[in-house]
Amino acid sequence: MNYEAVHKENNMSTNQTEILQAKRRARDYWSIDGLPTIFHALAWLMLAGMLNIRRGTGVVVATMVVLCVLTLLMFLAFRETEIIQRLKARTTYPRTGYVKPPELDTPSSLISLSITREPTPEEAEAQGLQQNSKLNSITRILSLAQKISFQPLFVSALIINRSTGSILPQAAVMILMGVSSLVELRKNKLAWIDVIGLVLAGLAIAFLPTSPYDRINLMFLTPGLVLALRGTLTFLYYLRRNPVVQA
């Protein structure tokens, strides 16, 4: 067999790049229908709605509402996968099938198959993925800590705001939440519509003649609306492109 024939054989055969691509496609498949985006939009809009109840309400009522909304958000955050999977079972799986997304922190044992040779670009990519998985586990721990710590932090900030009239603690907590949400968004790659939405939000926050409170509210409302729009468009496009497969 000559080299060309073997090379052709190898092209046909599988390698690390193909496995990595299959993994990436399976991971991207989770957001193919826009349902996770709609879910995230709901969280942002709930936060924005929560901020709107402050006027004309007492400390007790406001604190109760904030606690209820944050508890609900925490519940949604911890049950996110389960809830989205229930929705997907009705919409996505009958159309384009089901796949369990691969974990990032279980690198393929194929990475260690040829350590004596100079790493090929595919192997370098695989090693990069392995390093990313370490970063990913750190991000997950931070994300969990953040989910647990936000509730008391936010309530404390609200109490300080009611007693002193300063919005600085609340602004600090919200900026922290915004940054962590952006990190989450970045992991799923930002779409152009997100970038435009964030720029519009920035402009609105900077130039609209509103109170600082309303500006903070905009910080939640705008990304929520942008994500809701993107998620809905993706969902509708997905439904149109993929009719239910008849058995």
Binding site: T14, Y93, G97
Partner: protein, 107 residues
């Protein structure tokens, strides 16, 4: 004949068939996938995929579980430990052949 080329003779023929190789690659990359997902990923017809999966299941490389998600029936496929090991061995052999052939061409 180079030692690398000799590895070609010992390749697992069950995996070496292109359609089954695609199925094995997809299943190696994910914990589990259903029939429809595999069909879309591999671009195979229902009958074709079904017969290849049956062969892989017979060899003990793939587990097939028929279940329901709500009202929707799911045929979930996943690689067994044996299947994973066989696939890794196959890729290792191909890599050896690839490496030795490249070295031969360079020299």
């Amino acid at each position: 004949m180079t030692p690398g080329l000799q590895e070609l003779a010992t390749l697992d023929r069950l995996i070496h068939e292109p359609a089954r190789l695609m199925i094995m690659t997809v299943l190696y990359a994910v914990p589990e996938a259903d029939f429809l997902y595999l069909q879309r990923e591999c671009g195979l017809t229902q009958g074709n995929l079904s017969s290849h999966l049956a062969k892989l299941e017979e060899a003990g490389y793939v587990t097939i579980i028929k279940t329901f998600k709500g009202k929707y029936p799911l045929t979930i496929c996943s690689l067994t430990k044996k299947g994973r090991e066989a696939f890794e061995e196959y890729v290792r052999k191909i890599s050896v052949v690839n490496g030795s052939q490249k070295a031969e061409v360079r020299s």
